[in-house]
């Protein structure tokens, strides 16, 4: 009998599909993230903060009624700075995805230092994310993305991903397909991508080395989602380095002991 890891259904699903979608692991942390983000956004607009989870979601869903496309980027930057200035954000973000990350990535983790925020208003083409894989821009293939919708994301309000079974063919023809316009690159995979419906209260953990992106949001509500990268702290780094982009968050006792250990002196 060999001692090996037990079969891990979550990990197998992630490998096969390129992603998993699960209920958040910490409902209180999720509620804090949603309501705190809505509060920071309301402050940026000089509006009263919505009270509670439901009102916060409704406020963010309808933000296009208060912010013009021209003002969106400045608004988004203010909210990102505001929410990242709160020390509770990163622990709460980790808490909503922790068991899934520990299953897929490991239990000694490095976390991106700043959590990103995406706001995509209906019919706004300025916030498009053309088809890409993060690895193409220097991210390590050992990284995963924990993607947290703050509102219900469905249809074109959501993001899409090219599943592993199609990604290999895309990579084999990379120079032609990725060098084309983003429109034609998407057209070539339109029938192969999966649109990921993720509701507020769920978290998506996906393989950022698979092509993914978004399209113009044709739904009636604004998308708000956060994303943050995690990786094994001792796995290889790409262009996003430890210290300048990632920070260790869960070093275990044996690692802490090992890092401090010195052989006894002999002189």
């Amino acid at each position: 009998m060999t001692a090996g890891p037990a079969p891990d259904a979550l990990g197998e699903e992630w490998l096969a599909r390129g992603y998993v979608i699960r209920d958040v692991a910490d409902a209180a942390a999720h509620e804090w993230i949603v309501t705190a983000t809505a509060r920071v956004a309301a402050e940026a607009l000089g509006s009263p903060a919505p009270a509670g989870l439901g009102a916060s979601i409704a406020f963010m869903d309808a933000i296009h009624e208060r912010v013009t496309p021209a003002a969106l980027n400045d608004f988004r930057v203010r909210v990102i700075h505001g929410i990242n200035a709160l020390p509770e954000l990163r622990p709460a973000y980790f808490a909503v995805a922790r068991p899934y990350l520990e299953s897929i990535v490991g239990n000694e983790l490095a976390m991106q230092q700043r959590v990103n925020l995406s706001i995509q208003m209906p019919a706004d083409a300025s916030s498009l994310l053309p088809v890409h894989a993060d690895t193409w821009s220097g991210d390590s293939p050992y990284e995963v993305v924990a993607w947290l919708p703050l509102v219900h994301c469905y249809g074109t309000k959501a993001m899409y991903i090219l599943p592993p079974r199609h990604a290999a063919a895309f990579d084999a023809d990379f120079a032609r397909r990725a060098g084309a316009s983003s429109e034609s690159a998407f057209d070539a995979m339109r029938d192969q991508v999966e649109w990921l419906e993720v509701r507020s209260g769920q978290v998506l953990v996906f393989d950022q080395s698979l092509p993914h992106g978004n399209r113009v949001n044709d739904e009636a509500e604004t998308r708000w989602s956060m994303n943050c990268r995690f990786k094994g702290v001792f796995t290889p780094y790409g262009d996003k380095k430890l210290g300048e982009f990632f920070e260790p968050i869960t070093l275990r006792p044996a690692t802490r002991r090992g890092m401090g250990y010195r052989l006894p002196g002999v002189r």
Binding site: W136, S137, A175, A178, G179, S181, D239, K240, K241, E244
Partner: protein
């Protein structure tokens, strides 16, 4: 005010490396000091010698006024390709800026100055690195 598309790298270039956020800070500072508008940076692919993103940016000319890249050493390594990039920018009536070196190309004279820097750096890189180690005494059995 010229509208310049930022262009940064996600891989080392000619023995150099700069974090992407630092590259963007340098671009922002360059543009602020010279009164240019910086358009959101495009990040070149990590694959060695990729210029796919640069091609996309060149395709934006003349809708934009030019390109500001972090370093002149992010231009293509191949001399003909490099010359082609400069010619396409100038033919579109645009300008090419290299922020960390504080240089720009708006005509053939400035293009020659940038190319000269490139050639010197390339020569330094390919030059022998110091004297060869002295041969030791021949050993028995060697």
């Amino acid at each position: 005010m010229s509208r310049l598309r930022g262009y940064i790298f996600s891989r080392p270039f000619m023995g150099e490396r700069a974090p992407q956020h630092v590259q963007n800070i340098v671009l922002r500072d360059y543009c602020q000091r010279r009164g240019h508008e910086l358009l959101l940076s495009a990040t070149e692919y990590a694959m060695e010698d990729s210029t796919l993103i640069l091609e996309t940016v060149l395709g934006e000319l003349p809708a934009i006024d030019g390109i500001v890249m972090y370093s002149l050493f992010q231009l293509p390594r191949d001399p003909a390709e490099r010359r082609g990039v400069v010619e396409r920018v100038l033919a579109a009536g645009g300008s090419l800026h290299v922020a960390v070196e504080g240089m720009r190309i708006t005509d053939a004279v400035e293009a020659a100055a940038v190319e000269q820097c490139w050639m010197v750096k390339a020569a330094m890189e390919s030059a022998p690195q110091g004297p060869a180690p002295a041969a030791g005494p021949e050993r028995e059995g060697s």
